[in-house]
Symmetry: C2
Subunit: 207 residues, 2 copies
């Protein structure tokens, strides 16, 4: 969206800046991360940061943009494999749990916007909204595939919302208790029960 990601000398600097900025912002938050901190951490002078991104907010937007791209690109296809519901549900939960585990910094970064949303640029907010929408749609599609909900979009919607909120809540828990993982076991039971509650055929009781 901003520029091609892989080129000569300047592009490497660009990436280095985004790497360290992302790491620092994920750890300290946007407001608490200063340009000088980023400069010191990545070795390039402040003026270079401004040459590349124009402003602190520009860096922020670029960081979010990249985190979003990375995270969305890593999502598996919404066509969850598996011949029956149980296999697909298992595959879905494994994928979600893994992605959640692998992309901790991105998740943190994107969640963190909440605390600065009021001050953030329209561009930054839009970036995160887009990310959120894309994630939601993916979850909806994947769950629709898992439970066969092509005719019941509102159910797919509820299940997706449920799943994402549980994931967000777990991310929050991780702020206090590093190492908190997405509990896919209870989530599986809950999703099955919710589907069944809406009259979706769920071969075999949850227990």
């Amino acid at each position: 969206m901003t520029e091609a990601p892989a080129r000569g000398r300047g592009a490497r600097s660009r990436d280095a800046i985004l790497d360290t900025a992302g790491e620092l912002m994920a750890r300290h938050g946007y407001a608490a991360t200063s340009i000088s901190m980023i400069s010191a951490a990545c070795g390039l002078p402040v003026s270079s940061l401004y040459w590349h991104f124009g402003s602190k907010d520009g860096i922020y937007v670029a960081v979010l943009e990249r985190a979003q791209t990375t995270l969305l690109a890593a999502l598996p296809p919404a066509e969850v494999p598996g011949r029956d519901l149980d296999e697909r549900l298992e595959a879905f939960l494994t994928e979600v749990g893994d992605a959640f585990q692998r992309h901790q910094p991105s998740v943190r970064l994107l969640l963190g916007l909440g605390m600065v949303q009021q001050d953030a640029t329209a561009a930054a907010v839009a970036e995160v909204r887009h990310y959120r929408d894309a994630l939601m749609q993916w979850a909806r599609d994947a769950l629709s595939c898992v439970f066969g909900l092509r005719e019941r979009p509102e159910v797919a919607d509820e299940l997706a919302r449920f799943t994402l909120r549980m994931a967000s809540g777990t991310a929050v828990a991780r702020w206090f208790d590093a190492g908190a993982a997405l509990e896919t076991g209870p989530l599986r039971v809950a999703l099955r029960a919710l589907a069944a509650h809406h009259g979706v055929a769920v071969r075999g009781a949850p227990e």
Copy 2:
């Protein structure tokens, strides 16, 4: 913990400072809220803020402390009323949903610490940990009462964790979509299913 809350001239100022500081910090986050902003918003000079709280961090701790006290005091007794499981579960969910709705700023404030945790004082972190622990214990006790889990503490634990994570996730959702409420309907279905999954007697199928 810091001083008596209701006295003459100075105490009113103290409260005014905490009110506006809490509001600003809940909206912008800790780092993005400056002493001068608070001073301007509440009318008292910066030196008064320092006289009362010593430092910006002191204000933060006091704000968290008060938010915690308020929130915990508002929690209903863990002895959830109701003659059968369904009545108690309903009462529990209503209470949680209401508290969640009523105390939005406190929740936001306490969640927000996550983003500054790395830099925050030990005192601030301890404050939030204590809050979190108290909330968790309350949920555990209440759910234990709802489902009759005195002999199954690990199940009560799982249900409480599940509930709190869902609540946290919903708080996050509210950052993007104001007006997002705790969906007690799906939560009820999920909790019943989880209890049943662990062999707890849950008279009547969830649907």
